[in-house]
Amino acid sequence: MIAAILRAQAISMRMGKRRGAVLSALVAVLWYGMWAGVACAVFALAYAARLAALRVYAPLGFLGVFVYWQIAPVLTANLGSALDTRKLLAYPIAHGKLFLVDLLLRLTGAGEMVMVLGAGMLGILANPASGNGRDWPRAAIAALLFLCFNLLLASGMRSLLERLLSRRGVRELVVLGMLMLWVAPRLVMVSGYHPAWLGSGAAVLGAAIWPWGAAARASLPGGPAGLALLTLGCWMAVAGWFGRAQFERGLRFDAEAAQARPLEGGARREGFLERFYRLPGWIWRDPLAGMVEKELRSLARTPRFRTVFIMGFTFGLLVWLPMAMRPHHVGQGAIERNFLTIVSLYALTLLGQVSYWNCFGLDRSAARIYFVIPHPVGTALVAKNIASLVFIYAEVLLLTAIVAALRLLAGWGQVLETLLVVGICASYVMALGNVSSVYYPRPLKPERVSGGGASSRFQALIFLLYPVALLPVALAYLARYALASQAAFAAVLAMAAAIGAALYWVAMDSAVEAAGRRRETLIEELARGDGPVDSE
């Protein structure tokens, strides 16, 4: 039965991703190759370290594995594969078996940590100071228990997060809270605040009562291994109970009921939003005005987009704030001088996954309407770009207000410069995005706040495309730096704008032509469903 479920998913994935197999494989090789390098380094360190050093650093190493395993998938929006239980609940399958499959799938999001953990353990066992592998059964049990503990906990965390992220009004706050938790320690450190208890933190964290401390003690010779293994076993049992309980709650969870609430708000808020949505009608004529209006309404009501939008002016700000706040940089650093521009460009890149890189993603199969109505599909692309730009500039305005409040704004000239630079960069990314939206369309679940965004093969290309798209503007800054001239900056920026406009025009032609030619494939890709396993 378990094999049948996995086979069904394998077939679904094969059908959907055959064409991008080469690029996906290449990305996988690069990713796991990098982690193989890390694993080798961990092996070398564990092999060469003295026993005293191992006693201090092994718990921290295990803690690192734990933190990465539990938090990195959430932050990188890669929750790994998991069962889409709705598709399987109709069959007479025991929940225990479904849970087992879920756990097996959890491993798909943790391959790199398994590699690092295994390498670290092998390094400890091979280390002459730790007895040349005499205690391998004990170390193997510790590794297995630690692996199971992480696996069970990660499964429970995923179920819990999935449910929280499905609740209207809660999901955005949850994502924001998680991001703040990640960034806050860095911010505290940079701010220079060092509470007294922080000094003893390493010793507390390395204590044998924690699973990572217990795993380290069980792996090293000379300690109370039995007690450490027992502690680790207890942690695993707790994680098992948590994982299974969350899985069961996930099975009973009605996502639609959690999301089902009419769009209601105060009359004033509704009135304000309605006026905002009607703005395009003052500037453009139908059909463009109608399409932009539709985009503004749809995006503003899409949890996925809202979350990324909120991240744009919060997460981005917190990521860059520590660099601007470094005491020796205040008032003179390039980052501080261009802080607003940098965080605005960061917001522009963040919005890409839910807007310009995959324009039709949130419309899914309804994107067919653009081929049914009596207007060229290019109008829809322009409308989508305008709507994206409206939200991008909304981000810039919010960021301007926050940056001004933080007293990091270097005058109104910087605001004007940011507006120009963001606009120019937007012309490049949207030009490329229109083409990618036609060639690499992918349906996005609007109620999900993570995962997907672009097809895996295109996701790899995005990393290459961003530097290309930002290069012309970067050259303008280089000119200002090298020649110490505002005029040189303005001239290169103007040239970048002209090239961006030309590129946008050419790319739009190409995208429209390709959309007409590939309309069947495009519609088919956007209407594609999932297998029994949700791989987002």
Partner: protein
């Protein structure tokens, strides 16, 4: 004499080695209520998708309301109302917002689109609250789709399984509206698996099987020898064989 609502000659569309539509000839007179029938996988939806311009044909000619496809695609799109097999609805809009959007896409001024949208919401008994389409039931979604196909007063309706998933009251309402549209001179071209519905509503029928039209004519012609539409359908698509039994069943 005006050209037929739909005139298709030698239409072909293949997916790999399989011909979904294989030399299809079809003529739908104006003002008719035309049923397009066929077993699963016969090529009905593919034909409708070609007629709406969603997919290109490999060969053959298509004329709709006297305009040639794909050369005069925009002229055709302005004059047709579409209710597809799958949803064409934007989930994050309310029903009224979607109807307004569609109306404006077909050239209505915003106030007129809103007014017609409100009228259609009332007519189709759809909730006029702030509920977004994602929260609608399947039947309600079909009603919105049907309402959207009416908002620009089209001359031709292309409908793929319009009554699927709609309750009896909703289906009756939709049928009455379509009959009214035919009485005012519009043409309805619909596919349905419910032969009773087709038998009651349609005055002309074509049956497609394996991508080819196996019969086409008036309902009276088809039932000439006293047989029901179902009998004729089963005979024409070659399904008159004894049901095979599985030993374990």
């Amino acid at each position: 004499m005006p050209p037929p609502a739909i005139l298709v000659r030698a239409l072909r569309k293949s997916y790999g080695a399989k011909a979904a539509v294989d030399g299809l000839d079809l003529e739908v007179p104006r003002g008719s209520f035309f049923g397009f029938l066929g077993p699963n996988g016969a090529g009905k939806s593919t034909t409708i998708r070609i007629l709406t311009g969603l997919i290109p044909a490999d060969s053959g000619s298509v004329e709709i309301l006297g305009f040639r496809l794909p050369q005069e695609e925009l002229e055709i799109k302005r004059r047709i109302g579409l209710v597809p097999d799958e949803s064409l609805l934007f989930d994050r809009l309310t029903g009224l917002e979607f109807l307004e959007f569609v109306g404006r896409m077909y050239g209505l001024e915003r106030p007129a689109a809103i007014e017609r949208g409100r009228g259609l919401m009332d007519l189709f008994e759809l909730p006029a609250d702030r509920k977004i389409i994602a929260e609608y039931s399947k039947g309600m979604r079909k009603r919105v789709a049907m309402a959207a196909s009416l908002i620009h007063h089209p001359e031709l309706f292309l409908m793929d399984e319009p009554f699927e998933g709609v309750d009896a009251v909703g289906a009756r309402l939709m049928k009455d509206i379509l009959v009214d549209q035919v009485h005012r001179g519009a043409t309805v071209f619909l596919t349905s698996h419910v032969l009773e519905v087709v038998e009651r509503l349609c005055d002309r029928v074509a049956i497609i099987h394996a991508g080819r039209i196996v019969t086409s004519g008036t309902m009276e012609d088809l039932r000439a020898d006293g047989q029901s539409l179902e009998d004729a359908f089963v005979r024409l698509v070659g399904a008159e064989r004894p049901a095979e039994r599985l030993s374990w069943l």
